[in-house]
């Protein structure tokens, strides 16, 4: 649905200093999926999402949306294509001087929709985002979450195939973030709209994304299914994002002390293996004691995902047998070295 091929973007500032915002980024977002791009600030993710509808013109590379080559379009064609690409923003970007109703109706009118249909669409999409009763209110009388809902209704009212989300939940509190994420998930399911979102919060990725790309210094350093990235992050930055959900740092004194008595391991459970009592089984079967140091189970979009850090205490041959048994049971096991 969205194909970015070898996108690079360089900003040249006044002092002839060039800033490379994107470097040879290639992404493919499939029809109907929710694709997340995560990265720390300055990683280039905002530039990336703005390249999809050419709000930012890439220095080189090609952009395809729905099979159409956006770079080669005339201004008029691009305008038509953009009507098929919805976008929501961190700052909501609503008209302050227009009511909720007009905020949705004015863009529809300007794209040439018939008056009778405008009314129908405004009513329909306002009720989908749950704000049917707020249509005569001005944006300043709404909360942040409600403003974002209006912005979502505005984007949906053009009935696009694709929705781009530029940090849409970053200005919202955790509870409101969750309700907006649920709304995005709902419109993805009900209307089959493909969503490309960028965020700096792992929580957003975990809750609604099917696939994720991790960005750093203008490059995509890792991408794949959310579950794979969670269970086996390859790059350091990715590991940092994942460990933000599973704290696994211990005071080094305790760590060194424990390590003398047996291995410290990290156990990753995906899906149903998350509810097996694997640890208590090994302490019965083998001559080992287990001690959980930290652990957490999170709900990914469609399966639970858990991670435990445990200390296995016992003679070397017994702990080895216990670890082999765990692997046999389909649990991902890896030994933890200090600080990580």
């Amino acid at each position: 649905m969205i194909e970015l091929k070898n996108i690079s973007k360089t900003f040249s500032s006044k002092k002839n200093k060039e800033v490379v915002a994107l470097q040879d980024v290639t992404l493919h977002v499939k029809k109907g999926e929710i694709f997340g791009v995560i990265g720390y600030s300055g990683a280039g993710k905002s530039t990336l999402v703005r390249c999809v509808n050419l709000l930012e013109k890439p220095t080189s590379g090609e952009v395809f949306v729905n099979g159409e080559h956006l770079n080669e379009m005339s201004t008029d064609q691009l305008r038509q294509a953009r009507q098929n690409i919805g976008m929501i923003f961190q700052g909501f970007n609503l008209l302050k001087t227009a009511t909720v109703y007009d905020n949705i109706a004015i863009p529809l009118k300007l794209t040439g929709l018939a008056a009778s249909e405008i009314n129908e669409r405004v009513e329909k999409y306002l009720s989908i985002v749950g704000l049917a009763d707020k249509k005569n209110v001005f944006p300043n009388q709404l909360s942040g979450g409600q403003k974002q809902r209006v912005a979502i209704a505005r984007a949906l009212s053009h009935e696009p195939d694709v929705l781009l989300s530029d940090e849409a939940t970053s200005a919202l509190d955790p509870e409101t973030t969750d309700s907006i994420l649920e709304l995005l998930l709902k419109i993805n399911k009900e209307f089959g709209i493909t969503i490309l979102l960028i965020t700096h919060e792992m929580h957003v990725i975990q809750k609604i994304c099917d696939r994720v790309a991790v960005m750093e210094n203008g490059e995509v350093i890792e991408q794949g299914n959310v579950i794979d990235i969670y269970s086996a992050p390859q790059q350091q930055t990715t590991q940092r994002f994942v460990s933000s959900l599973f704290p696994s740092e211990f005071p080094s004194e305790i760590f060194d002390d424990l390590q003398k008595q047996g291995p410290i391991i990290s156990l990753t459970f995906v899906g149903t293996s998350a509810d097996q009592p694997a640890l208590s089984v090994i302490s019965k079967k083998f001559d080992v004691h287990t001690n959980i140091l930290s652990g957490n189970i999170v709900q990914l979009k469609d399966k639970p995902f858990g991670k435990l850090i445990a200390h296995i205490q016992g003679p070397k041959d017994e702990t080895d047998k216990a670890l082999a048994y765990l692997v046999e049971q389909g649990v991902q096991v890896s030994e933890v070295s200090n600080n990580g």
């Binding site: 305008r79 001087t97 863009p107 300043n140």
Partner: protein
């Protein structure tokens, strides 16, 4: 009481006529100045670097022309433009003759006020409309101008008041007006009563315009 009646009998007609002249000069030149000033302000914003019609030549040209026009004192402009005025309206005298210099004086001022009002509009909103595939000219009118409305109204209020000040000099080309009455009768012929009355009228006029502007601006603000 007798004094008031006497004053009214003697000066009433003159002051009334001057008030009408002031209103004529201000309203006509204000309308024409807005017709030139608002689009100029829009152009100043859009031709800035990184804006939709980014064009440093047009931008710099407008910038310089506006600064030059705004540097010239109105009284100089009034005489300087005499031939130009005559070629456009056929006369350089009376209310008609003063409209051209008043417009030339006010339009660049309005352009600057519009520029600063339009620059206040959140560029995220403009971007959102660009992302929805809406034509630039529609964005200008339906987003930029509408969103800047409160500041535009306050700017135009300031411009109107400046314009009233400038009309005081219109007497020099025989256009009359309240300022002219205050100067000729009040100052030159030393009739302090006439001067005080015209000044009080001007104060009331300006108070009324400023209050009206404030009310309209607040009303269009919606928050």
């Amino acid at each position: 009481m007798d004094n008031i009646i006497e004053f009214y009998d003697r000066w009433g007609g003159l002051i009334w006529e001057a008030t009408i002249e002031t209103f004529q000069m201000v309203s006509i030149s204000f309308l024409i100045a807005v017709i030139f000033g608002l689009p100029l302000g829009v152009l100043l914003v859009l031709t800035r670097p990184n804006k939709s019609w980014d064009n440093k030549y047009v931008y710099q040209f407008l910038n310089i022309v506006i600064n030059v026009l705004r540097s010239i004192p109105f009284i100089i402009l009034l005489f300087f433009l005499l031939p130009f005025t005559r070629s456009i309206v056929g006369t350089s005298m009376g209310v008609r003759g003063v409209i051209v210099p008043l417009v030339v004086y006010t339009a660049p001022y309005i352009a600057r006020l519009m520029e600063s009002a339009l620059l206040e509009v959140d560029k995220g909103v403009l971007e959102a409309y660009e992302a929805m595939g809406i034509k630039t000219r529609h964005i200008i009118w339906h987003v930029m101008v509408q969103e800047a409305k409160p500041s535009i109204i306050l700017g135009l209020t300031i411009a109107t008041i400046g314009l009233i000040g400038a009309t005081a000099m219109a007497g020099l080309v025989g256009a009359g007006g309240l300022g002219d009455v205050a100067y000729r009768f009040g100052h030159l012929r030393y009739q302090p009563n006439v001067m005080y009355v015209t000044i009080v009228l001007l104060v009331i006029l300006i108070q009324a315009i400023q209050s009206l502007g404030n009310i309209l601006a607040t009303k269009s603000k919606k928050d």
